[in-house]
Amino acid sequence: MIAVIDYDTGNLRSVENALRRLGGEFVVTDNPAVIRSADHVLLPGVGEASSAMAKLRERGLAEVIPTLTQPVLGICIGMQLMCRRSEEGDAECLGIFGADVLKLPGGEALKVPHMGWDTVKWDGAPEGVSARPSPLFNGLESGAYLYYVHSYAPTLCGDTVAVTSYGVPFSAVLQRDYFFGTQFHPEKSGAMGERILKNFLEL
């Protein structure tokens, strides 16, 4: 059973639909006991970081999530909440990953939000990050295009396993023990995204 954490930050429908397409059995829940006993945990999320953190705390989930031992995947804001802190609303986050979440600098021809399909690289230790093969990438090639919609992004850190560059390089995928996070939306990223979700669910 997969637990999709519901903390009232908006639309979970696209994640639910993607899990249905993969044939995954899931529950949408904010119940800590159900989350603890799930085989896999998904932390999706859209919206603003500081209010999303407040909602996790209200439900007592800010204490639960860092102590989980099964595979946990944070998507977009979900991943950002697993970092140390976010510049968005100056939010202190869960501190699972060693990254901080900063506003994308943007600039000439670099529109913010960063929206659309961009390349995700994990080969060749990009930008000084120690490249470790992540099980999420099984069957995929470095340089794959995945779908992004975001204005903030996690910095590079020791947990970075894949990088995208948009003005600055940022963590496209973070991994520490059984905690994973993707800044892109695998549930909207066609066949590549489905493969990443499938790889996660096979852990």
């Binding site: 429908r13 659309g116 948009y166 909207k188």
Partner: protein, 251 residues
């Protein structure tokens, strides 16, 4: 590097695709879900579904269809056509749409853009602008290009951005359906003026037309209907050709 997007547009009437022929291996070319899935498999970067039903019954069918699209399509999709209120946008969001387009209703009542952006986020609102040149001035039109408004293209696009639009979808009614290409200078001016993405629509007849609007016109995405529906330029062929021209596309 962020890829330029190729977006097929499907016109829907009473739950069925209006155009859409010449697809081998499709069970039902009239089925918007089957056609959308086919495009997604071929490499479409997003899909746009426009409801052109004139009846309330047709609109209800459309909302049901959006639910089915969301269940079956694994790439982002935008829906629109006749959307006139925050409630309409909410229904489509809950059905699973990633974005909505607003057009005539926003020209009549621009606050609609602010309302949708405030409630559902800027990324959810695409402002579609249909305009044509009258005495050298780009005049914004409503009702599918039939009715000229008081607004001018560039000031309206800027206002839409300031009100919270996440993207601008611009169609030149002078070029739409001609297959003679896009007005690239006008698109380049929009790109200069705006800090949000611009989607070019209306006028594509060849790969070169699309290449031009993505380079000279500096558009972020190109949307087309008939060249895809009638199989004139299949998406994989288009993307390979663009790639050969050093335009960054997702292959």
């Amino acid at each position: 590097m962020l890829a330029k997007r190729i977006i097929p547009c499907l016109d829907i009437k009473d739950g069925k695709t209006v155009k859409g022929i010449n697809f081998l291996g499709l069970k039902d070319v009239g089925d918007p879900v089957e056609l959308g899935r086919k495009y997604a498999e071929e490499g479409a970067d997003e899909l746009v579904y426009l409801d052109i039903s004139a009846t309330n019954e047709g609109r209800k069918t459309f909302a049901e269809l959006v639910t089915r699209i969301a269940e079956n399509i694994n790439i982002p999709f935008t829906v629109g056509g006749g959307l006139s209120s925050l409630e309409d946008a909410g229904v489509l969001l809950r059905a699973g749409a990633d974005k909505v387009t607003v057009n005539s209703a926003a020209v009549r009542r621009p606050e609609l853009i602010d309302e949708i952006a405030a409630k559902y986020g800027n990324q959810f609102v695409v402002v579609a602008i249909d305009a044509k040149q009258i005495d050298g001035r780009w005049v914004v039109t409503t009702n599918g290009g039939k009715k000229p408004s008081e607004r001018e293209l560039f000031t309206w696009a800027r206002e839409a951005q300031e009100r919270g639009a996440g993207e601008i979808l611009f169609t030149s009614m002078d070029h739409d359906g001609t297959k003679n290409g896009y007005p690239c200078e006008t698109f380049a001016r929009l790109a200069d003026l705006l800090s949000i993405p611009v989607i070019a629509s209306g006028g594509a007849g060849s790969v070169q037309d699309i290449a031009d609007v993505l380079t000279r016109g500096r558009a972020d995405a190109a949307l087309a209907a008939s060249i895809f529906h009638y199989g004139e330029i299949p998406i994989p062929v288009l993307k390979r050709e663009l790639h050969k021209m050093n335009i960054n596309v997702r292959l």
